[in-house]
Structure formats: structure tokens, C-alpha cells
Amino acid sequence: MQIFPCPFCGPRDETEFHFGGDAGNIRPDGADVPIDRWADYLYLRTNPKGTAREIWVHMNCGEFFVMERDTVSHKVLSSAALGGEHAA
């Protein structure tokens, strides 16, 4: 079991959270988006070994936030609330 830090509630059990994808994976906009850009958005993941920036949601309070964590050590490096902008 891991403890994740919700920016609003503080430390909570990992089972209270849901993964929301890579931070910065912005949805393409417009009618002329090339097919490989869509494929990149939909299917390609960075999957880094080490520090990863991810979007998570705390299901109990509904807080969306960016969490930075190490995919090797599982250490959580930071978490910050999304203020309406898409985290880059």
C-alpha cells in the first residue's frame, strides 16, 4: 500500500485515488490535426524510468492534481492542485 498526498486532504490511502494520465498530454484541437498527432495523443506514453509527472484525482473529495513521483522507488516528490489549466 502507498500513501498519496491529496493537495486538499493530505495523505490518503492509494485506493482513494484514480490515475488520470500523463501530465502535459494535451488534446489536439482543430479539424486539420494529422493522424500521427492523434495517435501520439491517444496511444503513445512517455513511460519514464524515474521521475514521472501524472494527473490523478482523489475520488473522495474530487480534487484533480499533478503528482510527481519516481516510478522506480515509488517515492512521491510533489503534488499540486490543478487550477483550471492543463498542467504542462
Binding site: F8, C9, G10, D13, M59, N60, C61, G62
Partner: protein, 179 residues
């Protein structure tokens, strides 16, 4: 036609239901007015005169009218008596939704309360948390202290499940089981 209701045990009569074990007593609380308040909570506090911060997980609520914090912009307001504030959108910047019928409230007390909490959640009850919304017994619940007792609000549809869970937990606490 198959009667699928036979698959589940009959829900207790909440007016008289009680779980007792050495150092533990659980009862259902009826008749509370419950409101969900969403939006500008400072505006809510100014308009209603009721706390706009609310107690967090295992926080201590007092009296017959108080609030529990659910999220950054959401409160559960609880009162022994009906509140004279209209449901719906308020131009000050918040919305009020009646949810008295949607949430069942349980009250737990006794010397074994800490052991009961430890079975329900991994959250440290001595550590402050801004929101009283947490996972308890595997389901979403609103959990805080009211006086010396623990109050738990759950969706009414999950109340019978939680009651069964509490019966088993109380039995295991009484038996000294680690299960």
C-alpha cells in the same frame, strides 16, 4: 419471475437497530436535516450564518447544527432541525441541495472506538485532514466525531452493507480477532 430480493438480507429497522459489543455500541440516527452546499463557501457562511469551513476527517463537530467539509468547494451541513434556507442556486455564488433522504447516518461510541476505526480505514485518526470524505469499510463515507461519538454518513443504498460490516467488526473486536 425470480425474486432477486432474496439474494440480500433484509435491511434492519433503523429506528430500533443497534449493535452492541463490549466497549462498542452502534446506532442509526434518524431525523437529521442534511444539505449539500457547493460553490463559494464563504458566501454560504455569510448568507446562512453557519460555518463555511466544516470539520475534516475525525474532526470534532459540536452542537445540533454544524458542517463537515467534503471537498475544496463542498460542505455537508447537518442540523437537528430544519434549516430556513432555500434549496437551489443562490446568486451569492453557491448551491444548496437537500440530501437528508440520500444519506444514512450511524453513530458509534465506546471504549473500543479506536479499534473500530482501525478496522474501517488506514487513515490515522489523530492526523488532521481537511476533508471528512474518506473510504471507510471500503466505501465512500463522511466520518467525523460528534462529542465523544463517531458519526458516519453513507449513501442510503450502502447502509445495509455497512451495517453488516459493522456487525462483523464488532464481533471480531469482542472476540479479540485480528480479522
Amino acid at each position: 419471475m425470480r425474486d432477486l430480493a432474496e439474494k440480500w438480507s433484509v435491511a434492519p429497522d433503523w429506528q430500533s437497530a443497534v449493535i452492541t459489543a463490549p466497549g462498542l455500541a452502534v446506532r442509526a440516527i434518524s431525523g437529521l436535516t442534511q444539505l449539500l452546499v457547493s460553490g463559494d463557501l464563504d458566501a454560504w457562511a455569510r448568507a446562512s450564518g453557519i460555518d463555511g469551513t466544516g470539520v475534516g476527517a475525525f474532526g470534532a463537530a459540536q452542537g445540533g447544527r454544524y458542517a463537515a467539509r467534503l471537498a475544496r468547494d463542498r460542505l455537508l451541513v447537518v442540523s437537528n432541525s430544519p434549516l430556513a434556507i432555500a434549496t437551489g442556486w443562490h446568486a451569492e455564488g453557491f448551491a444548496v441541495t437537500a440530501i437528508s433522504a440520500g444519506l444514512q447516518v450511524f453513530e458509534v461510541e465506546g471504549a473500543a472506538l479506536d479499534a473500530f476505526i482501525a478496522r474501517g480505514t488506514t487513515l490515522d485518526p489523530s492526523q488532521a485532514s481537511a476533508s471528512a470524505a474518506l473510504s471507510f469499510a471500503g466505501i465512500s463515507a463522511v466520518v467525523y466525531r460528534h462529542g465523544s461519538k463517531l458519526r458516519i454518513h453513507v449513501d442510503r443504498g450502502l447502509a445495509a452493507y455497512l451495517w453488516t460490516w459493522m456487525e462483523i467488526a464488532a464481533g471480531n473486536i469482542a472476540a479479540g480477532s485480528a480479522d
